[in-house]
């Protein structure tokens, strides 16, 4: 077998071994900005033929078997699950983040609030990608995990993507390639802005039929902001004192907002300028 693909999921390292050229091509593309040099201490992921099917393992533990795409999906899930639930020293939040001018904008929200689509809209505006769905906070730093963006096939923001960058994911979604030069480095949480994405009402403007308010950005009081933020944390026992202090500083200094998803891609560049 050839050398493994060395995949970094924030502060966690995995060495992926596979004899499938299709799987290797997929992981090389989906994790293009997360690849590094293999490290000896990394978890070992294997995707190998087993009878008439394929089998996925992590550190010798069988994750499952089946056709190639299913086992690739199992590996994708395990890379994130293992990092979030076991290996990482970070507190992980259900949030994307992008960066501009060395400062991060954390886009927080549950699934299907449009985080990935918003990242896709912000990249051509000069923002760099930190993460699309899982934000890793290590003490007072944001550690990037810039995997390819994943969007549902019908997501309208896909229309803005360069077709050459699109490729099929393993779970029915479409992926949008992210290049290394489009990604952010480790950033200081204390200079970040946090935006909670609120879905717009279906079929209506983001503010219903009434007049549009002058500023779509809704500042949150510190307690509400902190409650929203920590409700999106996957493992509260990983929240370090420094992380809590940094996030509380943002809340207390008025850098945590709610914003309708529909206006977000237009508003965020202005917000960054205003808060600079």
């Amino acid at each position: 077998m050839k050398a493994p693909l060395a995949i970094r999921v924030a502060d966690c390292a995995y060495n992926l071994w596979t004899s499938s050229p299709e799987a290797e091509a997929f992981f090389r593309r989906a994790y293009a900005a997360c690849l590094g040099e293999p490290v000896a201490a990394a978890s070992r992921i294997t995707l190998i033929p087993a009878d008439d099917a394929w089998q996925a393992r992590r550190d010798g533990i069988v994750l499952g078997d089946g056709d190639l795409v299913r086992t690739m999906a199992l590996i994708e899930w395990e890379l994130l699950r293992n990092a979030v639930q076991e290996q990482s020293t970070c507190a992980v939040f259900h949030a994307a983040w992008v960066a501009s001018g060395g400062r991060a904008v954390v886009l927080a929200g549950e699934g299907a609030t449009g985080k990935s689509g918003l990242c896709l809209e912000l990249l051509p505006q000069g923002f760099l990608l930190g993460a699309e769905d899982a934000a890793f906070f290590q003490a007072d730093r944001l550690v990037p995990f810039p995997r390819a963006l994943q969007l549902r096939a019908g997501d309208p923001t896909l229309a803005t993507a360069d077709v050459e960058r699109l490729f099929p994911g393993c779970d029915g979604r479409l992926c949008v390639e992210v290049r290394r030069e489009e990604t952010a480095g480790i950033l200081d949480v204390r200079t970040a802005t946090v935006i909670f994405l609120d879905p717009a009402e279906a079929g209506r403007g983001p503010y219903g039929d009434g007049p549009k308010p002058p500023d779509p950005l809704i500042p949150l009081d510190p307690l509400s902001a902190l409650r929203r933020m920590f409700s999106l944390c996957f493992r509260l026992d990983r929240v370090a004192q420094a992380t809590f202090e940094a996030i509380t500083s943002l809340a207390a200094s008025g850098r945590m907002f709610a914003l309708s998803r529909d206006t977000a891609s237009r508003c965020i560049p202005d917000i960054m300028e205003r808060l600079a």
Binding site: P222, L226, F230
Partner: protein, 92 residues
């Protein structure tokens, strides 16, 4: 013998301006305390009974002992109802 109480060890705390914020990493709940409450919170970071805490609180704010005791009891009830106190066995 008066019962000694203390706050749960699972609380992360930080002060911003005059406010104290606490995150209970067991439950995910975030709490906010004003200046007065903050002082009482800080008194129960170590195990104390209400009389000891009230004496310290009265000295800090220069208020009558009976009023201090009432404030401390009120806050202890709030801590209790919000699940912020350590279980009896953990308090000592």
């Amino acid at each position: 013998m008066p019962r000694r109480r203390r706050l749960k060890p699972s609380l992360l705390m930080t002060e911003k301006d005059d406010m104290l914020f606490a995150l209970d990493v067991d439950t995910g709940r975030v709490h906010e305390f004003n200046l007065t409450a903050k002082v009482i919170v800080q008194l129960f970071l170590d195990p104390r009974d209400e009389t000891e805490a009230a004496a310290e609180y009265a000295r800090t704010f220069r208020i009558p002992p009976q009023q201090a005791l009432e404030d401390v009891r009120f806050m202890l009830e709030r801590f209790e109802s919000n699940g912020l106190l350590a279980a009896s066995g953990e308090a000592e």
